[in-house]
């Protein structure tokens, strides 16, 4: 009795979560990729809080300022352009005095930075875009947008998928039929068409719209898996035992079964973050993504399309590298997570 009064939490034993964590923490790949993902999360948070890249839209450098490691263009582009085109244009000079010559000279002077209020840098750490905005800062701001979209949309999609899957799998009968019908409708419509339709209905651009589009279309995969898991688990003896002791349907669905299928949900969440980050890029590239007032990797790639013709590769490189590293790290982490949570699958 005296011993019962003082439970010893030091003998707290290893639950399945802790065992999974132990397995995960022994996996070097998992740890490295988790560290990278964490770094991105920190970047995202810092950017969202305005500590870094808050001034991404400031035109800090000259147009298409090359990256610092490449060095400034041999001649500053604008003056050289004048110098080059000046003599070339001469034969066409028909001797008519240009009425705008004075204003043009003024503009040229300003573009060259001569009379600008602030001097524009000739190079930027990772180059500049058409308006001379810092590509590195844009990439960081883009990270914020992409990660927010990926995380929130994945949370929404997986939440819906889990909720619908749990109801359909557990209740069966008419409920199951209804959700299966919904699932079939959503998967029968071609994906992009569905996205366009929802975009048309929402009729405004922005991060929230992208999240809604992805979240509302993306629940189907999770639904299918969670429904199957619930079908499997509801016939298990521990659920029967819960019924026998009088646990309600709600308790059985969410207190008993959900923790036992949560590894599926968690892996789905992780997978969908990666999937949606890529989807956001595609949507923004196609012009259905975030608006011009913000920046994402997709919109950077969209701009880079034209820049490549001019040989300005850095915006493309920055957005691609930022995305590739995150997506690779996140995918590796997801794989490791799945192995850790469900070692039988290995």
């Amino acid at each position: 009795m005296s011993a019962a009064a003082a439970p010893a939490p030091s003998v707290l034993s290893a639950g399945l979560w802790r065992l999974a964590w132990t397995r995960l923490s022994r996996d070097a790949t998992a740890l490295v990729s988790a560290a990278i993902v964490l770094l991105y999360l920190v970047l995202m948070a810092a950017s969202a809080a305005g500590f870094i890249a808050g001034d991404w839209s400031r035109e800090a450098g000259v147009s298409y300022a090359p990256p610092a490691f490449q060095g400034p263009d041999a001649v500053s582009p604008e003056p050289s352009a004048i110098a080059d085109t000046g003599p070339a244009a001469a034969p066409e000079d028909l001797g008519i005095p240009d009425p705008l010559a004075g204003a043009l000279a003024e503009i040229r002077k300003e573009l060259a930075g001569g009379s600008a209020a602030e001097a524009k840098a000739a190079t930027l750490p990772f180059g500049g875009d058409k308006w001379g905005r810092d590509v590195l800062k844009k990439a960081i701001k883009g990270t914020e947008t992409s990660m927010v979209v990926g995380l929130v949309a994945a949370a929404l999609a997986v939440f819906l998928g889990t909720l619908f899957g749990a109801m359909a799998g557990y209740r069966g009968g008419g409920t199951d039929d209804f959700f299966n019908w919904l699932y079939s409708v959503f998967t029968a419509v071609p994906y992009l068409l569905l996205v366009l339709a929802i975009a048309a209905v929402l009729n405004q651009k922005g991060v929230l719209t992208v999240i809604l589009i992805l979240g509302l279309t993306g629940w189907t995969g999770t639904f299918r898996l969670v429904r199957a898991e619930y079908l499997r688990h509801k016939a298990r003896e521990y659920v029967l035992a819960a019924d026998a002791i009088g646990a309600s349907h709600f308790q059985r669905m969410y207190r008993h079964i959900l923790p036992n299928v949560s590894h599926v949900v968690l892996v789905q969440l992780s997978l969908h973050v990666v999937l949606f980050i890529k989807s956001e890029v595609i949507l923004s590239f196609l012009g259905f993504g975030v608006g011009v007032e913000t920046v994402s990797w997709g919109s950077m790639l969209n701009e880079a399309q034209n820049e490549l013709l001019l040989g300005k590769w850095w915006q493309l490189a920055a957005a691609t590298a930022a995305m590739a590293v995150l997506v690779t790290a996140f995918s590796l982490f997801t794989d490791a997570l799945r192995d850790a949570l469900d070692p039988r699958l290995k």
Partner: protein, 571 residues
């Protein structure tokens, strides 16, 4: 060291196998095991789960998982002058199947579901004997006839799911003997089968062995079977050989404490000791004190707790577009349960025992009938008002690995019903109740914070029992509650159930396929077949004078066990 002058067919010498579980943990699964298998002889390898008996057999065939199993240096398995452990994979493959073959426990998972039985049998023949397709098929037909499957010409085209469990195992045996091996290893070949089928399979194996002059290594946990089939016994525990000798030596004059305990802890057929002896009773050569006989049976004037009238359960299947087919799992079942008494329910798989239990508890909706409890028909109580009744009928399921939620600690498992039914004033009081119950079912205090996967099967079953006790039920249904447990653990749990019944005067519905266990536990026995009760009588009456032919068939199929052994050798 057999007195026999003949050279043993297989000599296992000092076999040791380690399993790497973790980066820094290894399990010594087999520790220096030695025994011989004489030509044409039958050696039984007996032990409980984790004793290393299957690992020993797998080592003989070179089937140990390469990734984490290591055969220790100094181990030898001699066969035909060669050490099987040193053979190249190719040479070993030639031995395996052709000279040494194996029958596994689960026929269903050993057969490939997408090929017909005949095709799989012919494939084995083509691989090992070089017969061509037509010859192989003809030979397959012969083999199917030899293992006693009716209508072999039709059955050869059957897919595994179209065959019964017994027929599947016969196909597996046909595959194993297809290449006329000199040694057949049978790893629990009848454990997944019903008793009547078990009997037939054992007879088949014995016949084949005699006809083909094979030696056999028979692996089992069931000592009663050993006495029927083997002439030499090796008792293993924790990877070590505890005792070996002829059947007569081991059964009549066991020298080892563990062997004596194993022999004694199965419920006897002739008597009902008050408590069953357990392994601890034999520690250090002790002899347990003789137990008084426990009286069983009904006088007829007992208080009736539960009465079931015309209970029925039908499952409907959709067939084709509009067709419907009904399957009656339980038909017109009636019985009465007296307070503090036990109704044993026996029957083979598919006889409706479990469906009956789930239906009367309302875990599955009944198709008809009444369950009278406290003067009310439980089946007619609306769902919302059923809660107070639910706690009074509880159930312990068969599989201790599936019936506890793996994400809950033992403490949480016990607290949940207390919370649902509002027992105790607060969580502190409930925790105290839970701890007391854990103690009562024989678990240590520390169990409260542990998760199910940290317990053994027997301990998990104790937690399941404790979960039921939280609600102080009037009726406890034990659905094959001890069937998945090793015999020594089984005896402990049966003792626990008995003690609890004595203390709380609970009524038990004790469902089991094991006739010996039911005879020990039950006051009254109901025999079920195909959803019907074919016989219902007092326990002593039913076992002594079965009236229904099916009951007689069941009783005849019971392994006669050790008591028959001396007689058999004398005869």
């Amino acid at each position: 060291m057999t007195a026999d002058a003949t050279v043993p067919l297989v000599r296992v010498h000092n076999l040791g196998v380690d399993f790497r579980i973790d980066r820094d943990a290894t399990l010594q699964a087999v520790k220096g095991v030695s025994f011989d298998i004489p030509p044409r002889g039958t050696v039984a390898l007996v032990g409980e789960s984790g004793s290393g008996k299957t690992v020993t057999a797998l080592a003989m065939l070179g089937l140990l998982p390469r990734s984490n199993a290591t055969v220790l240096p100094g181990s030898r398995i001699e066969y035909g002058g060669r050490n099987l452990l040193e053979l190249t994979p190719g040479a070993l493959r030639a031995v395996r199947g052709a000279e040494i073959s194996m029958v596994f426990q689960e026929p269903m998972s050993s057969l490939n579901p997408v090929f017909t039985a005949g095709f799989q049998l012919a494939e084995v023949l083509e691989k090992h004997t070089g017969l061509t397709g037509r010859q192989a098929r003809a030979r397959a037909l012969e083999l199917i006839r030899e293992v006693g499957i009716p209508e072999p010409a039709a059955r050869i085209r059957a897919y595994p799911h179209e065959l019964s469990g017994g027929q599947q195992q016969r196909i597996m045996i046909a595959m194993a003997i297809a290449c006329e091996p000199r040694l057949l290893i049978a790893d629990e070949p009848t454990t997944a089968l019903d008793v009547t089928v078990e009997k037939q399979i054992l007879r088949l194996i014995a016949e084949l062995q005699a006809r083909r002059h094979m030696a056999m290594l028979f692996i089992t946990h069931d000592l009663a079977l050993v006495a029927e089939i083997a002439d030499h016994v090796v008792v293993m525990r924790d990877g070590e050989v505890r005792e070996q000798g002829t059947v007569e030596q081991v059964f009549d004059a066991p020298r080892d404490d563990y062997t004596r305990a194993l022999l004694a802890c199965r419920p006897p057929l002739a008597s009902r000791p008050w408590r069953l002896p357990v392994i601890d009773d034999f520690r250090g050569g002790a002899v347990p004190a003789p137990q008084p006989e426990r009286p069983r049976g009904l006088r007829g004037d007992e208080e009736i707790v539960l009465e079931v009238r015309h209970l029925a359960k039908r499952f409907a299947f959709r067939e084709g577009l509009f067709g419907k087919r009904e399957f009656a799992a339980v038909k017109d079942l009636s019985f009465r349960l007296a307070r503090g008494k036990t109704l044993g329910v026996v029957g083979e798989s598919g006889s409706g025992k479990t469906t009956m239990a789930l239906t009367l508890m309302r875990l599955s909706r009944a198709s008809g009938g009444e369950v009278l409890f406290d003067g009310r028909d439980l089946l007619a109580v609306p769902e919302a008002a059923a809660l107070p009744y639910k706690r009074r009928i509880q159930i312990v399921f068969q599989n201790p690995y599936a019936s506890l939620n793996p994400r809950f600690t033992a403490g949480e498992i016990l607290l949940e019903p207390l919370r649902i039914h509002g027992v105790g004033a607060g969580d502190a009081e409930r925790a105290a109740i839970a701890r007391k119950l854990l103690d009562e079912v024989g678990l240590p205090e520390s169990a409260f914070f542990k998760y199910p996967h940290e317990f053994s099967g027997g301990q998990r079953q104790r937690i399941a029992v404790a979960r039921c006790l939280t609600m102080k039920p009037d009726v406890l249904i034990c659905d094959e509650a001890v069937s998945a447990l090793d015999v020594s653990v089984q005896a402990q749990l049966l003792n626990l159930l008995q003690d609890l019944q004595d203390e709380y005067r609970m009524s038990y519905i004790f469902i089991s396929h094991d006739l010996a266990v039911v005879r020990y536990m039950a006051d009254e026995v109901m025999v079920m077949r195909a959803g019907e009760a074919v016989e219902l009588a007092g326990a002593d009456e039913l076992y002594a004078r079965p009236t229904h032919p099916y009951t007689r068939e069941l009783l005849a199929a019971m392994p006669a066990g050790r008591r028959a052994a001396p007689g058999r050798s004398a005869g």
